[in-house]
């Protein structure tokens, strides 16, 4: 089982919303929806690990940090995200990061 981390992204949210609509119209069961989401987790984790190959740098000032249950949550201010191609600046960004080490996760209860 993979991280459910990516459900709160544009991609993940749109999937959840679509599933909710189908549940509303009773075209699928909530259980099935959950299964779909689990499948989504796997797919997105795999895709990110294998199909993306770019680097980003960023710098800014750290407003808050939190480390709980092996999850880091940061809030940064006045951040510049720099990729080779372009630069994106934001006033505030929240970063949520789960442990990237495989072993750490797979010991969790499925």
């Amino acid at each position: 089982m993979a991280y459910q981390l990516y459900r709160n992204t544009t991609l993940g949210n749109s999937l959840q919303e679509s599933l909710d609509e189908l549940i509303q119209t009773q075209q699928i069961t909530p259980q099935l929806a959950l299964q779909v989401l689990l499948q989504f987790d796997k797919a997105i984790n795999t895709a990110l690990a294998n199909r993306v190959r770019n680097r980003v740098n960023f710098k800014g000032s750290l407003n808050t940090y939190r480390f709980c249950d092996n999850v880091w949550t940061f809030v940064l201010n006045d951040v510049e995200f720099r990729e080779v191609t372009d630069l994106v600046k934001v006033d505030k960004v929240k970063i949520v990061a789960c442990d990237g080490k495989k072993t750490a996760f797979e010991t969790d209860v499925v």
């Binding site: 949210n13 989504f40 984790n45 990061a97």
Partner: protein, 396 residues
């Protein structure tokens, strides 16, 4: 398929994820006895939502590939139009050529004639003349001929302009720091004229420019004093500086100066378009509004103050102020700086810029943090980005 995805990996990635998911769950759907139709509907809903969110650029279904391509072309045409702007003169730097304007004091509307010598323009901009509005022609008492020479100084605030008429007189425009302008009758400068002339040749930096510059009228507060100048640098030759200094010292002829000042004032008024000058600058210097926290005329409710004091004395609790409540500033002096909680306000955004990822290494040294992240999806300013690795620095 349109080639728009080449530069941006996100649409492709999303597309592939969608395909994978749909294919994987097809079995699940069938196991549950759910029709394939529903699966297709799921896919359509999903894709539509992604398109609506505009978070992904160039995300489209195959049906809309043609539409996108057409829209793309239109966008490109639009951008080309934006480029064709001629930098005539930025409104800040305007010079009127004598040759094309009449020697009367009129309100020159906006940009008039273009500087003949672009270098002068640059100098002018550097000098801060830019704040001035339009250049207007000035009616010089001695009549003006088309040929003038201009010497500009590179001072930021003040400027010395010499205008040499055909008569051989050198009228000196002076612009003091506050924007006042003077024209100094040059009689005493006749001596200088001879010195000036030969040096007006472009042995130095620039060719003489046939221009009259009415220095920017900032604020229009002519000082009633005498000659004031702060000669700074003179462009053409070093000798000019000395000449300038000498000229500056002429204390005489206040009467003439005043006459000319009046003319200048008229010009200023006629132009009307004076740039924001000292008066406005002064206005900006007002101190920001201060809220009074205690005392007779404090801005907050007195009752609440009392209550809070009692509460704290009794409970000795954390002074947890609801920072967002009424936006009041009336917190206890003691601990009012402790709370940095402005989260409530900030959470009201539409777009919270979020990065969801995994961390390889988080490092901290004193207050310097280093982040090594991977496999992330970012939503910044409404747009989606992905990365396989991200490295960051921040200071706490």
């Amino acid at each position: 398929m349109a080639s728009s995805a080449n530069s941006n990996p996100v649409p492709k990635l999303y597309r592939s994820v969608i395909e994978d998911v749909i294919n994987e769950v097809r079995e699940l759907f069938l196991d549950e006895g759910v029709d394939e139709q529903v699966l297709m509907e799921l896919k359509t809903l999903w894709e539509n939502k992604l398109m609506q969110s505009k978070a992904v650029e160039g995300f489209h279904t195959e049906e809309q590939a043609a539409l996108q391509a057409a829209a793309h072309q239109q966008a490109q045409q639009a951008t080309q139009q934006a480029q064709a702007q001629q930098v005539l003169l930025p409104p800040q730097q305007q010079v009127t050529s004598w040759q094309s304007t009449r020697p009367t004091v009129t309100s020159a509307p906006q940009q008039q004639v273009i500087v003949q010598d672009p270098k002068i323009l640059q100098h002018m901009s550097a000098t801060g003349m830019s704040a001035a509005a339009t250049a207007a022609t000035l009616a010089l008492p001695t009549g003006v001929s088309p040929y003038h020479q201009l010497i500009t100084s590179q001072g930021n605030l003040s400027q010395n302009c010499y205008i040499k008429t055909a008569d051989g007189q050198i009228l000196q425009f002076v612009r003091a720091a506050n924007g006042a302008q003077y024209i100094i009758q040059p009689q005493q400068q006749m001596v200088l004229q001879q010195q000036v002339l030969p040096q007006m040749q472009p042995g130095g930096v620039q060719a003489p420019v046939i221009q009259q510059v009415l220095a920017p009228l900032q604020g229009g507060h002519p000082q009633q004093t005498g000659v004031i100048i702060q000669p700074q640098q003179i462009v053409l030759t070093g000798n000019k500086v000395q000449q300038n200094a000498q000229v500056m010292q002429m204390p005489g002829q206040p009467g003439q100066v005043q006459q000319i000042q009046q003319q200048v004032q008229q010009v200023q008024q006629a132009q009307g378009g004076a740039a924001p000058g000292p008066p406005q600058q002064q206005a900006k210097q007002q101190p920001p509004m201060m809220l009074q926290v205690d005392g007779a005329g404090d801005t907050s409710s007195e009752d609440e103050d009392e209550e809070e004091e009692e509460y704290d004395e009794d409970e000795d609790e954390d002074k947890d102020k609801d920072g967002g409540e009424d936006g009041q500033v009336e917190e206890e002096p003691l601990n009012s700086e402790d709370d940095v909680s402005d989260e409530e306000d900030q959470e009201l955004f539409d777009t919270e810029n979020v990065v969801v990822c995994q961390y390889d290494k988080i490092h901290r040294s004193k207050n310097k943090w280093k982040f090594h992240l991977k496999d992330g999806i970012m939503n910044l300013n409404g747009r989606d980005y992905v990365f396989s690795k991200a490295i960051g620095d921040a200071e706490w």
